[in-house]
């Protein structure tokens, strides 16, 4: 299995993308997609990516939902900040937090989630100290932001654990 699919999840993802792009589940498309998925899987093997094994689909789905909710909430919060304008300017600031994630893919996912969420921006991760520097738009309550990141961290640890 490993020789054919060095990155099974990636191959499945590529096949899904191919089917979505073609918008069909005809046998021809599936065969072509499978060939592409296998071929590109081998190509990525050359990149020497780090293997990680996300477990527990249910947890992943739950994590997705929490992130979606947070994105909606922070969208509204940031819209409020922008529309308030100069009447009540935001109170931006930098925050540092110590992370305990070893898996590189988990870190990448955390970075994507935090940057995609308006209101938090990932700035710098220190590998030696395992501490993350990030910027928040509205520092009204620091602890809430730190709690949010900690929450993500625990979820990711469970998923990639």
């Amino acid at each position: 299995m490993r020789t054919w699919f060095p990155y099974p999840l990636l191959s499945v993802g590529l096949l899904l993308v191919w089917l979505l792009l073609n918008q069909s589940v005809a046998p021809g498309t599936i065969i072509m997609g499978t060939l592409l998925a296998i071929g590109l899987g081998w190509v990525t093997l050359k990149l020497g990516l780090v293997h990680s094994h996300p477990r527990r689909i249910l947890l992943i789905v739950r994590f997705g939902f929490t992130v979606a909710l947070d994105v909606i909430r922070s969208n509204i919060a940031v819209i409020a900040v922008i529309l308030r304008g100069q009447r009540r300017p935001p109170n931006p600031g930098f925050l540092t937090i110590d992370l305990d994630l070893d898996d590189e893919n988990a870190l990448a996912l955390l970075a994507c989630v935090m940057t995609a969420t308006p209101g938090t921006a990932w700035l710098e991760y220190d590998r030696h100290r395992k501490s993350l520097l990030f910027h928040v738009l509205d520092m009204e309550n620091e602890d809430v932001w730190l709690d949010t990141v900690k929450r993500y961290e625990t979820a990711l640890k469970e998923i990639f654990g």
Partner: protein, 123 residues
């Protein structure tokens, strides 16, 4: 665009609402780019368009074409995925570049680079 008139009213209302809302969110994000004063604050504004805006406009597109062609249309999901996955990379690079510049210019209010643990022990 005459075939859009085939859209039933309930779908038209949802599609219009989502499109207008998504466009409004993107517009507010752009206004934020002007209104915010520092570079780091400006990092937050475009993510409005790439999260809320893209999500709503793509959902509108999915509903619109799914109803028009009376079949499931899903490939807009790819747009959402690619936008959500790629914009953070750009924003992180921009953020790091800004941080580096501010540290070199010794701007105040920017957190200093943390020293690696080895140097600390040497002191």
């Amino acid at each position: 665009m005459s075939h859009l008139t085939d859209l039933p009213v309930w779908a038209a209302v949802i599609v219009c609402g989502l499109t207008v809302l998504g466009a409004a969110v993107a517009l507010i994000g752009s206004v934020g780019l002007i209104r915010f004063t520092s570079f780091y604050e400006r990092l937050h504004a475009p993510t409005l368009a790439t999260s809320g805006g893209v999500l709503m406009i793509c959902t509108a597109s999915i509903i619109c074409f799914a109803v028009l062609q009376s079949r499931w249309v899903f490939h807009e999901i790819l747009i959402i995925v690619f936008v959500v996955v790629t914009t953070p990379v750009t924003l992180m690079l921009l953020g790091q570049a800004a941080l580096y510049r501010d540290r070199v210019e010794e701007q105040r209010g920017v957190p200093l680079k943390q020293r690696p643990p080895r140097e600390e022990q040497a002191e």
